[in-house]
Amino acid sequence: MSTAKEARAIVEMRGITIEFPGVKALDGVDLTLRGGEVHTLMGENGAGKSTLIKALTGVYAIDGGSIIVEGTPREFRGTADAQLAGISTVYQEVNLCTNLSVGENVMLGHEVRGPLGINWAATHREAARHLENLGVRLDTRSMLSAHSIAVQQLVAISRAMVTDSRVLVLDEPTSSLDRGEVDQLFGVIRGLRDRGVAILFVTHFLDQVYEISDRLTVLRNGTLVGEYPVEDLPRGQLISKMIGRELDELDAISQSAARAIDRTSDPVIRATGVGRRGVLHPADVEVYDGEVVGLAGLLGSGRTELVRLLYGADRADAGRVEVRGRTARITNPRHAIDRRIAFSSEDRRAEGLVGDLTVAENIVLGIQAKRGALRKVRKSEQDTIVEEYIQALGVRPANPNALVRNLSGGNQQKVLLARWLATAPQLIILDEPTRGIDVGAKADIQRKVAELSEQGLAVVFISSELEEVIRIAQRIVVMRDRRKIGELTSHDIGVDDLVAFIADEQPQPDSPESAA
């Protein structure tokens, strides 16, 4: 194992340049991947991370530079070439066949053949062996769709290892995993690293960068900023290198969160014992004018479930909701919208935006839906609204006619936020508004939330990044196992206190019950 630390270069990318019509997506970028190392690629959205990965995995042809794999210069004409060279990729959205079994997925294209065609028993045995190599025990005949995203990701990794890959590219594998699942994944990654595999890792979670990486490469605007051993680049410096400026704006946000909230009048929303059988134990929540209430807890702890019930996206079967002191029956989203409650879902692509419509159409969709089909938002009115929010939130590209599908995650989130702000809500529920978006956009959104709450908007803010919740919220509702376990005020507590509270009141190491 210690020989793996020799750090022999398996992949050397030198002076990689890729041009798209009108844009230099990458300009002379170097990347070296060494066996037995986890190498993290960092950069804001649009910095060129995805493009570089796609060059490495054969999705894009390079316009300049060279790719040398184990000493041999290679030219990839497609993903198959890259795979033959021993480079495998696991994408953010798992691309496996959910309607096949685990074993079939692992072995797809490499089934064990006998005289009568495929020998399924042997194929499943082989699949089980590959999974066990990663320390995963699964019924290989179970349907892939029956497993969580985390398990599917592990299956995708075993699938990559079937071809004996020397290089494994993990493109944001952790963005939809909870803490326990991330630990399991990291265990697998460390195992592969110790076997001498070179791992290229991309994530937006800074904690994870420091937890798993041996080395970092930072990109900005399609150019290389530098390669650093992880211990030489503390957090603050990393962020500055990524965005090219210093970050003290976040302090301003915490200042804003320290405001006193007037809780004497009726709250904007008061939910009493709201729950749904099998989904959420009855919970109480109140949000006052100008207040940001954070929801903290693991993925699947009931955070999303609670806000979906408040918004009427799912129907509550218990409890009572009052909006400004008056009983409100909210059983579908329109009831909530009529009471000026807005909800931005955690899954912005599936449940938020309409990808094939333009930025402008997506922004006015909320207003339009509220008015009904017959009272169309006039073109001049639409232009004014769209222009205003593109400016206010800094949507890039600032082109109202761009298809939303083509925007980066951060900009999509801004469009979604714009849609709801345009409806002039009194309460906005933001479920993971900063997930999977780059640091710059994250700061933009946090700043906007702070600013809006100062102006009196009530906000429910969900995030897996506890630091963010503590920074932005005045009060934090903590969820565990689909029930509310308590409420904290956010000044004077740190991430560690919050983690301890989420894990259990009596501190327990490594919450074991995190699996569903």
């Binding site: 094939d356 339009q368 839906a369 009904g372 089909a373 017959l374």
Partner: protein, 342 residues
């Protein structure tokens, strides 16, 4: 935006123009228009008249397809509507009275709407897959039509009714004005109100639309009802052309031609963005093809094959994948197929 729009319709228009040019070379009389009395005659005028039922049905189909649905029952609805109208006129003591005819048409179209609403109910409320929901009516509809006519082919003599498909106004077939009116009405309702964009939103992403507060159920329901109304009216035009309610032949296979027309016009079967102009061009393309087949004297048994080959060629020309294959060599960075699939 203008650029994209013209670009999107460029190929369908090119296909239609090419067809007309080929036809004109094969028989110069194709573009000739003769005046007899105060009426215009000629192959192009025939296309304008004969395309009316398909135009109506295709407009409805376009709206339904935009919601991610499909309506296979349009031919059956045509049969029912024709049967209803003719049975009423046949049973009336005054078949030549304009009031009788208008009443019969009104009732027939209303029944078309109810049948469409039934489809919409199954899809939007019960949650049946559109292809199955409308298949039910596709199979049952013709039986209902036969039940209404008592199993016979009802024939009538009614001047006002005959006028629907065979009459002329200011030199052009009345049926053509019906299709112009339908196109204008649909374009107006979809684009002057927000119905069009909300329909597209529901078709592209139903869940996001629901959470954004769009009444997606109502929109889907309305789309099928609109398709029913348009098919109902198409049934009137069809039966007026033959002055008979032939429940087995009325609108036979028209659902397939309508789907073709909509797809040729650039609307994706995956739902979402639609263009009225594209559908109009698609309908004319198909109708011109049919006229070409007739002119070439292709035996009627082989005609569908001929049409199929022509459609495959047109669709291939429009295929984005084929286009990217052609342009790929010209470009440096090429997305490969797995990237497209993702």
């Amino acid at each position: 935006m203008k650029k994209i729009l013209t670009h999107r319709l460029m190929l369908p228009i090119a296909a239609l123009v090419a067809l007309i040019v080929i036809n004109t070379i094969a028989r110069p009389s194709f573009v000739s228009v003769t005046v007899k009395g105060d009426q215009l005659y000629g192959p192009l005028i025939d296309i304008l008249r004969n395309s009316a039922p398909l135009m109506l049905v295709s407009l409805g189909m376009m709206i339904v397809i935009s919601t991610r649905g499909i309506d296979l029952s349009v031919g059956a609805i045509m049969a029912v509507s024709g049967a209803v109208a003719l049975t009423i006129i046949d049973g009336s003591p005054t078949p030549n009275d304009l009031g009788t005819v208008l009443g019969a048409i009104g009732i027939a179209v209303l029944i078309g709407m109810l049948l469409g609403a039934w489809n919409g109910f199954l899809v939007a409320v019960v949650g049946v897959q559109p292809i199955i929901a409308t298949l039910v009516l596709m199979l049952a509809g013709r039986g209902v039509a036969l039940l209404i006519t008592g199993g016979f082919i009802t024939t009538i003599n009614s001047a006002p009714y005959k006028f629907m498909a065979q009459g002329y106004v200011i030199g052009l077939p009345f049926a053509f004005f019906v299709s112009v009116a339908a196109v204008a009405l649909v374009a107006l309702i979809e684009r002057r109100t927000a119905l069009g964009v909300l329909t597209e939103a529901v078709g592209i992403n139903p869940e996001a639309s629901r959470l954004a507060g769009v009444r997606s159920r109502g929109i889907i329901w309305g789309a099928y009802a609109a398709s029913g109304v348009l098919a109902g009216f198409a049934g009137i035009l069809y039966s007026s052309n033959t002055m008979a309610a032939d429940s087995n032949a009325a609108g036979l296979y028209i659902e397939l031609y309508a789907i073709l027309a909509v797809v040729l016009g650039g609307t994706s079967l995956m739902g979402g963005k639609f263009t009225v102009a594209g559908t109009v061009i698609g309908v004319f393309t198909i109708e011109t093809l049919r006229s070409t087949i007739l002119f070439l004297g292709v035996p009627s048994a082989v005609a569908p094959l001929f049409l199929a080959v022509a459609v495959v060629i047109v669709v291939l020309i429009q295929s984005p994948r084929l286009r990217s294959l052609v342009t790929r060599t010209a470009q440096g960075a090429r997305p490969n197929t797995s990237e497209v699939a993702r």
